[in-house]
């Protein structure tokens, strides 16, 4: 798909990388040197900033109407609970239908001896 920049030359910029690819390397990899300007970024190994990043981008994504992961049981515990609740409701409905059908059959049996 992203053919440009794949080969060793001429090192096309971007190289089909998404923002996460770039942040992953620029923020998290590379040589750590304590400069004159000391910031938490280096001391705490980026943990909180990463969390904030993800939270920030989730909010941003929501603003843009992208929220599909909220419904993905593998990614969201809320979705997992919803999934269970939905399944439960569905089964209960089916049970009701079955019982209903059963009752009708019995009623018919009683009517037609």
């Amino acid at each position: 798909m992203t053919m440009a920049g794949r080969l060793p030359e001429p090192y096309g910029q971007g190289s089909g990388a998404n923002l996460a690819d770039i942040l992953e390397r620029v923020l998290d990899k590379g040589i750590v040197i304590a400069g004159d300007i000391r910031i938490n970024l280096l001391d705490i190994e980026l943990l909180t900033i990463k969390l904030r990043l993800i939270v920030a981008s989730v909010d941003k994504a929501k603003e843009m109407g992208i929220d599909w992961w909220e419904d993905d049981p593998a990614l969201s515990s809320g979705a997992r609970r919803k999934e269970l609740a939905r399944e439960n409701a569905e089964l209960r409905e089916r049970l009701a239908q079955l019982e209903n059908g059963h009752a009708q059959v019995r009623a018919r049996e009683e009517e037609a001896p």
């Binding site: 992203t2 920049g5 794949r6 080969l7 060793p8 001429p10 090192y11 910029q13 190289s15 089909g16 990388a17 998404n18 923002l19 996460a20 690819d21 770039i22 942040l23 992953e24 390397r25 620029v26 923020l27 998290d28 990899k29 590379g30 040589i31 750590v32 040197i33 400069g35 004159d36 300007i37 000391r38 910031i39 938490n40 970024l41 280096l42 900033i49 904030r52 990043l53 993800i54 920030a56 981008s57 989730v58 941003k60 994504a61 992208i66 992961w69 593998a74 990614l75 089964l91 089916r94 049970l95 239908q97 079955l98």
Partner: protein, 255 residues
């Protein structure tokens, strides 16, 4: 000169010039500071953004962070065209040139050792994704005739997805083994969060491979072949290649 010094990378002297249009973080073109036979690639950044207090605040700003990370990466990318840079982590900032020189001197041996290890090599990123079939919806499944039928269909869908995860993980393990055998070194990174990457599907493998420039074409072909194979055998799977990157994932001292 006023302002602070932002250091992108350390490298050995190289003959070719950098792209003339190249702009670094905060719009200042990067320059080369030579000391003891090593080069620090440096640009000037304003105190109002890069002094300790403002920088801390700025890093909380996703737009600023994104812009700065991209600028940092574009300088590293330009360097990778002409030499083997040792990328420093984003936001490595000194008060002045002499601070940068002191740092170069203090780390001289480390830098030379790491440069020896990485010279002539680049990093390739390989990711494997899989998209599960939706458990509900479009699938042409007949309407369940009974509750038992419904449960059976549902169980089959869940089992299909479990098979898919297992197959994908096996495929990813094999791919990683094959690529590691070809590469000079490899690293496994944490799978990417789809909320951040904006990429569909579950990220099963997120790996980086250190490959000699001269072997890179063959490495790319190897990935391409596995891509074709995977698509034939496993539905919903995707192999993604990025690069060539500077050797970000291998610049640390641990190997």
């Amino acid at each position: 000169m006023t302002g602070l010094r932002y250091v992108y990378a350390v490298c050995r002297p190289f003959g070719a010039p950098l792209q003339s249009q190249l702009k670094g973080v905060a719009g200042d073109p990067p320059r080369l500071l030579t000391h003891h036979g090593l080069i620090a690639v440096v640009s000037h950044v304003p105190e109002r953004d890069f002094a300790e207090e403002p920088l801390r605040r700025r890093l909380e700003d996703l737009d600023w962070l994104t812009e700065t990370a991209r600028a940092h990466q574009s300088v590293i990318d330009a360097l990778t065209v002409v030499t083997t840079p040792l990328p420093l982590r984003m936001a490595t900032v000194f008060r002045d040139d002499s601070g940068v020189r002191v740092m170069l001197e203090a780390r001289e041996d480390d830098f030379r050792r790491t440069l020896d290890r990485l010279t002539g090599r680049v990093e390739w990123g390989v990711k494997v994704y899989v998209e599960a079939e939706p458990e509900e919806g479009d699938a042409p499944v007949s309407k369940p005739a009974s509750g038992r039928d419904y449960l059976r269909q549902r169980r089959m869908r869940v089992r299909t997805n479990e098979d898919l995860w297992r197959q994908t993980e096996e495929f990813a393990d094999h791919l990683h083994a094959a690529l590691s055998a070809y590469a000079d070194d490899s690293r496994l990174h944490a799978p990417q969060n789809p909320a951040l990457s904006g990429v569909a599907g579950r990220n099963v493998l997120n790996a980086a491979y250190l490959v000699a420039r001269k072997d890179s074409e063959e490495f790319v072909e190897l990935v391409d072949r596995s891509k074709d194979e995977s698509m034939v055998s496993i539905p919903g799977i995707r192999v993604e290649l990025t690069g060539p990157w500077a050797a970000y994932s291998f610049a640390g001292e641990e190997t």
